[in-house]
Amino acid sequence: MSIVKSVTCPVCGCLCDDIELTIADGAVAQVKNGCAMCEAKFFSHNNKHRITTPLMRKDGELVPVSYDEAIQKSAEILANATYPILYGWSSTDCEAQRIGVALAEEVGGVLDNTAVVCHGPSILGVQDVGIPTCTLGQVRHRADLIIYWGCDPWSAHPRHLERYTSFTDGRFEGSEWKSYINKVKAAAGKKKLRSLERKGILKERHPHIAPSVNDNKPPEILNKKGRKLIVVDVRKSMTAEVADYFLQVEYGKDYELIQAVRALVKDQELDVEKVAGVPVEYLQQLVDAMTSCEFGVIFFGMGLTQSAGKFRNIDVAISLVRDLNMRTKFAIMPMRGHFNVTGANTVFTWQSGYPYGIDFSMGYPRYNPGETTVVDILMREESDAGLVIASDPVSNFPRRAVEHLVKNPLIVIDPHMNATSLVGDIVFPASIVGIEKAGTAYRMDHVPLPLKKVVDPPEGLLSDEEILSRILNEVRNIKLKTLEVA
């Protein structure tokens, strides 16, 4: 039995690097410091959903084959395709992504990563107006106002609050953990009373009424000392429950709301009572909190990038931060999902000049979101083969886009059986990056961190990097032979 300290967790964009693992008999036996998702991931390395051998579809069924056969067949598919899609990349290391770029260029395909269905619009927004941002260390030590806009870190980045924002003890700002505990205790007390009322032990004083949007009358926050936490969302998320101030915006009206906030920041008056369902007096409180803070940060998520307006929402959110910087210090940061989606954007940009949706079919990289992005290509039914690595588009793309992906030969590289591997034509099992293979990943604030190898992969399993290099070599061989014949 051994203990490995300071392991980086390969789950979400937080890349928590303080995980402590106990290894017994070549398997992870205990996970310390991690969140629920982190535990699930580290324990998943020896569960029954692992793929143990390469598979190939023959007569409609996936049957076991050797790596050599699967690599040979995949290389043939990619080399012979005229417009293949190479998609995924966000849950693997930068080393594999680098080979992915070379492979895409070699086969003249489209290289896209999961940012396209995640923070792609944020990248477009940043390309439009730039971004005033910082690292998470700055936030941890200095930020006294944290705003989560359209994101729910409690669910998607569970340790974000604890490590980088409200519940962390920084050098200049303390943790708000105690005030949260008090809030939880008060809520638990109320719940107990209600339960006693329901059971008839206490006389019923509060008949049950369905909750309404008007219940969210936020308290006066300016009086609060210490870090303030504000959440803006269309529904009361887990994070909103923790927040000091929750603003419930009507669906699809974030753009309108942010523009109204910008007007208030510039001391203009609004001659309406409500904007996007939020009373202007609440907005004024939000703006007062924003302009009176020492250092504020806005974190934003899918609530902005996937709702109506998409990249325009990000444009205007960044512009708000620019305006706020005339009054105080403010920064903004996207809440990146997969642990190395930032790395995928970074590596692709180094190598080709563009972060996602890169088309190599002309022999040089071309980037035109809406045309060279994978969902659009699938909807126009233009691709004739696909390689999916470290992601699950069959689960996460709209059904009609998947229909075309499945019609053509589909190569899948993944450690686990998922919806995409179930419908793939060639399925490669891979070792799990960050558990069975060391590598590099980028945190959501663009800080690169090393991933550790803590256990050995199942015997004979190759890593993403090795599988891709072997496919790339084979593709080059095939191209060379074709040239010789010609």
């Binding site: 309404s212 529904r235 990249f311 998922n418």
Partner: protein, 133 residues
């Protein structure tokens, strides 16, 4: 007033249960349970006379899917339904990328009606129905 069906707005997104399910493996029961549910507002559920865990049929221009209706545990979100990401949510999500590559995972108009006797498809059944594999 009891209604037969409601026209609402579909949002998809993350929950911690779905996160744990996806990391454990997409074939696990945790993943199935956490992605085959739909959070609804209490007043909307009352309009359809739904109880917690009743099955509902959600239909959009893209297709339809049967899921388990669960009362949203915190606050109100009238007019909205929220499905955790997964193949079931994506069976009915809009593919409109508004020319920037991003499908409309939030904001698809959806019709919701009770479907008490209709079963929820398993992952394999769903893939077979949609893609024939």
């Amino acid at each position: 007033m009891v209604q037969e069906k409601l026209n609402l707005t579909l949002l998809t997104g993350r929950t911690i249960e779905q996160g744990v399910g996806k990391e454990s493996g997409k074939g696990t029961q945790e993943y199935f349970q956490s992605t085959t549910m739909v959070y609804m507002d209490e007043t909307d559920m009352n309009k359809l006379e739904l109880r917690n865990n009743d099955h509902v049929l959600l239909s959009t221009e893209e297709g339809s899917v049967v899921l388990r209706a669960v009362r949203h545990p915190r606050g109100a979100m009238p007019g909205l339904v929220y499905i955790p990401y997964g193949p079931w949510a994506n069976a009915i999500c809009s593919t409109k990328t508004t020319s920037i590559g991003m499908p409309s995972f939030k904001g698809t108009p959806v019709e919701v009606q009770p479907a008490l006797n209709q079963p929820i498809l398993t992952l394999k059944e769903l893939l077979r129905k949609e893609f024939g594999r």
